[in-house]
Amino acid sequence: MSLADQSVSPSARPLVKLSNIRKSFGSVEVLKGVDMAVQEGQVVAMIGRSGSGKSTLLRSINGLERIDDGVIEVDGECVDPSQIDLRALRLKVGMVFQQFNLFPHLTAGENVMLALKVVKKQDKAACRAAAEAALSKVGLGHKFDAYPSQLSGGQQQRVAIARSLAMAPKVLLCDEITSALDPELVNEVLSVVRQLAEEGMTLLLVTHEMRFAREVCDSLVFMHGGRIIEHGPPAELFDRPQTPELAQFVGMVEAR
């Protein structure tokens, strides 16, 4: 995806809209009023030091963290702190985790088919076709009957991506999805994400892969101390950081 796509006119209704999100764990306020909007087809990476609130923010978008205040809106589905039934929201928001979280008692194919069967109530043939398509898309069509324990970390993560994609979400959240992988396995997962980005999938990533963020993302969000303190196109943020915090962060990651 090129930067041109980011020009989805700013007046268009954003696919994901966060308004004044606040969240505390006990007495520690981890999100101090975050506003953010993601347009359809945008690829946005959230960066920042650990503890800056980026994972919490990402997890609140599909209700894994209950927010204390603010409103989350995804494609017309609203979540506010009082909301309990998150099913409608979660049908529109897929999520991939750092630890893969595949269901170990099911094969790769069954992992992908489970929610299609029990949540979307699709019939057997439709489930199977969708699962095969999703696994092929991540290059694992031949691993349909393999159990997670028989797959490498990179393959497991690709199955996890296929499992989310099969549900046809409007937006996919990726929470440090390469952080638990051996270095040689990182690229196979990133290339799947890159392919999704090129196909126009709306993606929100928390990542430490700065080169990837720079190459693939339309927009970066820099979080610090529970706030978004800078956002914009990657090149701009990396080359001309406006705040000392971002300058320090960029210096830190580039020194690595």
């Binding site: 979660r90 999520m95 979280n101 269901f103 170990p104 929610a115 949540v119 996890a160």
Partner: protein
């Protein structure tokens, strides 16, 4: 004086052992079914239900089985509910078993990693769907060895019911000893019968554990 042969003794013990087996089976099956219900209530995201089940479990874990048996056998009739030794034994052991199994299984449910809940929640699955398709199947694997291990406790627990006059293998042993004056032989045989019942259970626990681990 009548002379008891070894076969006289053994055959009578084995006849009584049927009731040990039957009582164990009833306690285990009914206790298992009740245990599942207690478990589901114990881990349900509803505070009052959790607390009530916690109390239930604590009550049965915190008092001797013998006392539970006395209460069912002697106290219930005072309230107008007649109980035979059979009913009392079955009811008391079922309640006892359900409490222990629920607690054992709760540990197994909680041993399923948090990420499994999060991943299934992200796929828009409801609590019931998560339990049924993701959490319980995994908890089941973990649960097999301790569950079968506990079934051994149930078999041995039936011995206590001899106190209220239920004639299972221990009670039969006492009665035969009174007639034969051969306690060592008789109780030795009783012990062997218990061992013959329990050892296969332990062995099958191990076999099941191996079998369920294959697909991991």
């Amino acid at each position: 004086m009548y002379n008891f042969t070894l076969w006289d003794i053994l055959s009578n013990l084995l006849l009584a052992a049927r009731w040990t087996v039957l009582l164990s089976a009833i306690a285990f099956v009914c206790g298992g079914i009740a245990g599942v219900l207690v478990l589901l209530a114990r881990v349900a995201p509803l505070r009052p239900l959790q607390t009530a089940m916690k109390l239930y479990i604590e009550l049965f874990q915190g008092t001797p089985l013998l006392m539970q048996l006395f209460i069912v056998f002697f106290a219930l009739p005072l309230t107008g509910i007649e109980t035979s030794p059979w009913t009392a034994a079955a009811v008391a052991l079922t309640l006892f078993t359900s409490a222990y199994l629920a607690e054992i299984w709760r540990g197994c449910v909680e041993a399923v990693p948090r990420g499994q809940w999060e991943a299934s929640a992200s796929l828009a699955m409801s609590y019931g769907e998560q339990m049924r398709y993701v959490v319980l199947p995994q908890a089941l694997r973990i649960a097999v060895p301790p569950t079968v291990g506990f079934s051994v406790q149930v078999v041995k627990g039936t011995a206590v019911t001899s106190i209220i006059g239920f004639v299972e293998v221990t009670k039969a042993g006492t009665m035969i000893t009174n007639a034969t004056f051969q306690p060592f032989l008789v109780y030795g045989l009783v012990g062997l019968i218990y061992f013959a019942l329990c050892y296969p259970l332990s062995l099958s626990a191990k076999a099941l554990e191996r079998k369920l681990n294959v697909a991991r």
